[in-house]
């Protein structure tokens, strides 16, 4: 019986394991990916200070520290079920069942699909798939590609692909349909584009970002969006072009693009065919939280956090006794925030294990402050309303606790 099983060896899970080991808990970390690091592994961007955020090196720091503390990390272990027992939890995996007193779910985020006619063809992949192939496996995903979906993540990864010498034709919006409402709407996308201002050194976007909160200016920006797109590196970003179809028989051969009105309707007769051999689809991220649902944790839909999120308090406890959550499962943010949330969760778990004590309570307050500081300084922000979203989910926890007492 472990003091804690941690599901997910991303920045949240690894940091939690480190703080648990520093407080001498018996820890087992499991992850289904062949290497520890989670989505941190693929990350590579330049901070506003000019310094590179190299996910492989950042992962190595965490894994080395975990190794110093003799932390058991098992990769290639997929969790498919969790069961509540009298003394804690049984975590069911492809490698057997692991019992523990406490459980931390740090499964991170998944990408929302943005379907486009023809998207099942080989050569179509999510933008994150291309990031992992390029930066982790070091394999070129194709000779010339195109990105459907304009947001912070796809802009960051488009830069990474270009850096690795992979040619991109452009970034456009995905076809408008029942699923892609938001991502296919030029005005909604323009609003998000201001958050990539530091990635795309374009005067147009920087100018736009000054007026981010003014819908009138945003609509004008969409109306006068340059016909040739706004350049990021050698590649144009378009908000008034849409990928309406992906063509090919056995693999991607081309895509059909069309121009859009400011409201996102295709302008008939504007269709053009562009030859590419791969397509990346970027539909945004949502918390990967099924395992928390399996164990009976209550959920709340909070748009600012990226979707349905397990109810939890500020110190990462859920209403299920002994169940903790940390990282992107609690809301979509950058890996630095996930890391600090992991540290905080680790201390909270120790606090439960050792029967609350003043030293640990103090460390929890400090760790909470650190999460706030990191959030305030984040260079990549997925959602502007993250603080309000966090407050709402924490209030739900408190309300449920009061109702139960």
């Amino acid at each position: 019986m472990h003091d804690v099983v941690i599901i997910g060896a991303g920045p949240a899970g690894l940091s939690a394991a480190i703080s648990c080991r520093e407080l001498d808990l018996d820890v087992l970390v499991v992850d289904e990916f062949p290497k520890p690091g989670g989505r941190l592994l693929g990350q590579l961007h330049q901070e506003p200070s000019g310094e590179w955020w190299n996910g492989i090196l950042e992962t190595k720091k965490l894994v080395d520290r975990a190794a110093e503390l003799d932390t058991r990390i098992e990769c290639g272990v997929s969790v498919h079920h969790i069961e509540k027992t009298e003394t804690g939890f049984n975590t069911h995996t492809n490698q057997g069942i692991f019992p523990s007193e406490n459980l931390l779910i740090a499964t991170g985020a998944a990408e929302s699909p943005a379907p486009i006619p023809g998207w099942t063809l080989p050569g179509v992949m999510s933008i994150g798939a291309a990031q992992v192939m390029t930066n982790v496996h070091r394999v070129r995903v194709g000779n010339k590609g195109i990105v459907a979906g304009v947001n912070v993540l796809s802009a960051a990864i488009a830069i990474e692909l270009q850096l690795a010498g992979v040619e991109l034709h452009s970034m456009v919006l995905p076809a408008k349909n029942a699923v892609n409402k938001h991502h296919a709407n030029p005005k909604a996308v323009m609003e998000g584009l201001v958050r990539v201002a530091h990635l795309a050194p374009s005067p147009f976007i920087r100018f736009g970002s000054k007026f981010a909160n003014n819908p009138l200016v945003r609509d004008i920006a969409v109306k006068f969006f340059p016909k040739g797109g706004v350049k990021m590196g050698d590649m144009p970003i378009h908000v008034r072009k849409s990928m309406i179809q992906i063509n090919g028989t056995d693999k991607v051969e081309s895509v059909t693009l069309a121009n859009l009105t400011t409201d996102g309707e295709v302008i008939p007769g504007s269709e053009e065919i562009v030859e590419v051999d791969f397509v990346c689809i970027a539909g945004g991220l949502y918390p990967l939280a099924e395992l928390a649902a399996v164990i009976g944790c209550p959920f709340q839909y909070v748009e600012e956090l990226g979707g349905h999120v397990p109810v939890h308090n500020e110190q990462m406890e859920t209403p299920v006794d002994g169940l903790f959550v940390a990282g992107n499962i609690t809301g979509i943010e950058s890996s630095k925030v996930a890391k600090d949330q992991g540290t905080l969760a680790g201390i909270s778990i120790a606090n439960r294990k050792y029967g609350k004590n003043a030293d640990l309570e103090f460390s929890i307050i400090e760790a909470k402050k650190q999460v706030h500081r990191t959030r305030d300084n984040a260079s990549i922000q997925f959602h502007p309303g993250i603080r309000e979203g966090r407050q709402r989910i924490h209030q739900t926890y408190i309300a449920q606790e009061q109702a139960n007492n």
């Binding site: 289904e32 063809l121 179509v124 798939a129 992992v132 192939m133």
Partner: protein
């Protein structure tokens, strides 16, 4: 095998000389690097198609590359249901692509659409893809 490899990178470390691993895919021999998943080793060799949709025979490849979507199902050493994107290659591993399976409701799978264009022409009525 290094056709699609990014050996050198302006920011990340260069790959150097990783250990080579030999495996088979549908009976043919391929080489990958130690640490490759089935999906990355095959793509490095220029192979995208990992299986066909079990009913229609339409070609499929990776989608998410991190274990979430199950689009990349292959058989490993005779056992089905492995995700190519999270399974490491091993020396002499035999990987087989996913095949068409008998379909009780559609005996004539040949009639099913193979491309989106086929689908749009024959199946989509009155512009409603769900009709």
């Amino acid at each position: 095998m290094n056709k699609n490899r990014i050996m050198d990178h302006p920011v990340l470390e260069s790959l150097g000389n990783p250990k080579k691993i030999t495996f088979t895919f549908d009976g043919k021999k391929y080489e990958g690097f130690e640490g490759d998943t089935i999906a990355s080793a095959l793509l490095a060799n220029g192979i995208r198609k990992l299986r066909v949709q079990e009913a229609t025979g339409n070609p499929r490849s990776i989608y998410c590359n991190i274990g979430h979507c199950f689009e990349c199902r292959v058989a490993v050493n005779g056992k089905q249901g492995y995700r190519a994107c999270v399974t490491l290659i091993e020396e002499n591993m035999a990987v087989d692509s996913g095949q068409v399976l008998p379909h009780p409701l559609h005996p004539d799978v040949e009639d099913l659409p193979k491309t989106y264009a086929d689908y749009a022409k024959n199946y989509k009525k009155g512009g409603n893809p769900n009709a």
